[in-house]
Symmetry: C2
Subunit: 322 residues, 2 copies
Amino acid sequence: MLKLLAGVDGGGSKTLALIANGQGRIIGKGLAGPSNPNVVGIKVSVKNIKSALIEALGGYQSKRINVAVFGVAGSEARDELSERLSKTIDFVEEIEVVNDSFICLAAGTQGRPGVVVIAGTGSIILAVDEEGKVIRAGGWGYLLEDSGSALQLGRKAAMETLRFLEKRAPSSKLVEKVLKKLNAKSVNDLLSSIYNSESPVSKIASLAPLVVELSEEGDLVAKRIVNEAIDELVSCVLSVISRSRFSSGHIPVVLSGGVFRGSSTYLNAFKLKLRKIMPRVEPMLLELEPAIGALILAFKKAGLLNNEVLFALIESYRKMEV
Amino acid sequence: MLKLLAGVDGGGSKTLALIANGQGRIIGKGLAGPSNPNVVGIKVSVKNIKSALIEALGGYQSKRINVAVFGVAGSEARDELSERLSKTIDFVEEIEVVNDSFICLAAGTQGRPGVVVIAGTGSIILAVDEEGKVIRAGGWGYLLEDSGSALQLGRKAAMETLRFLEKRAPSSKLVEKVLKKLNAKSVNDLLSSIYNSESPVSKIASLAPLVVELSEEGDLVAKRIVNEAIDELVSCVLSVISRSRFSSGHIPVVLSGGVFRGSSTYLNAFKLKLRKIMPRVEPMLLELEPAIGALILAFKKAGLLNNEVLFALIESYRKMEV
């Protein structure tokens, strides 16, 4: 019988579904609106995942998908989402919902053990070791700290600017840029531009590119903030590796998220510091879509993952992209 | 004509209303449930303020109050609250709603210029100088930082504990106590005990007393956290003083809030560091009810404040307390 497998990346801005046959050839691709349940709620999430899948199925719509793996952010909503998806999407036999960091890891390591570091608005660092054990560090949310995230970078930039406005810190290029970006002249302006915005967390995170950019230009305050962020990230990676079992050879460290993607300086500084402390690691920016990782996990779950399948997946994905 | 003035402290746990005659003798006291509009909403806030006032009026219920000053937390709701109070409470001629830090300052300085430092769950530092100008520092809310607040102390304690659980920091007495207090054994336990609680901010702030207590016992991690918090607070006080006009003599610095009240060590360490850097300041823990400050501001507004009135207010307040 013809096998069909699906991998879905359910992000905060879009949903991408990929469908492959049992030999690993990608035969369909579907796009829909956002489906991160923390952002759009479970109902919209289910609706957009279903519509991306249906589009990906194309002419195969009458067929059944054997195994589908969905990667979404957040852990709280995962069980409920899984239940609702199983009920709503009747053309999929087996559904698994995993944290989106797992599909990034799988896309970067092609399903092998390794470490993934996602630094976007928030951050998450985790390892899946040779025994399949999952070990995490950092990613403690907006009330504590997300190491190396845009929120951490932006928060420190905002605080430095507030200190300047209160005459507790000198001016700097960073301070000037933050004031301009937030269109603020006073402490009140700055605080209300953050707290009165639709998403205060995103507003703070939106300052991160300024910090990274100015750190590239040599601004001392920005450099300090970036270095602290990178140190925290490195410390998290060392933590997950020291608590895992990686017996031999190099350990792939897959990097993803807007902070890495937005700046080769940040990316390279992080790689350099990490390799200096731990020469065994092999940091690499994730180049493939995370949805490929979801597809790899679906093949794994179906017991169908092998080198030919991996080769076919990546080959057919590249051809689709053109 | 007989004058009546009212001062109200509208807090997050209770509302206290005091009524005085034109000579400054307090003739009534009323208590009601919380009326911080950020905590209970505007409707409940108005209801409880009204009921505290009616209780305070006692036999004088048919009389009209000339001027009433209300101190409440938060600035967003102040205008709306003021409007609703004016509509609902028809037995008061003139109403003014001010930030609760102003009534604390007035209670501590008896209406004279000075600085007030409130360190509770959040913190606020402000000066009212000789020209009546208001200058603030710190108090940037839960997404940035509230210098020297219970939230700041608790946040650092939680982060230190998370770092220990991730094998990125050594154990300490503080770490042990935090784990015990939050009934947590793992990162997941700790994060869910915070984020799944009714008020994550209060949950984090509830760790502050542990930090202060252990700092007294000499725990190095706790001492570092406390010192950083005190340095931040001192820096805020210096900031508001340097931006204000205090021409002569000593500057009263009124201290209030749970962090100071909970620990004489924290209080004394802060006083010591502040006086070392700025010998002109006179830090003092607020001993009177903030509602007295609201009453003082009401007398000021009515043009009736003088030394006899102040003396009478404090004397009659002390007699009521017995």
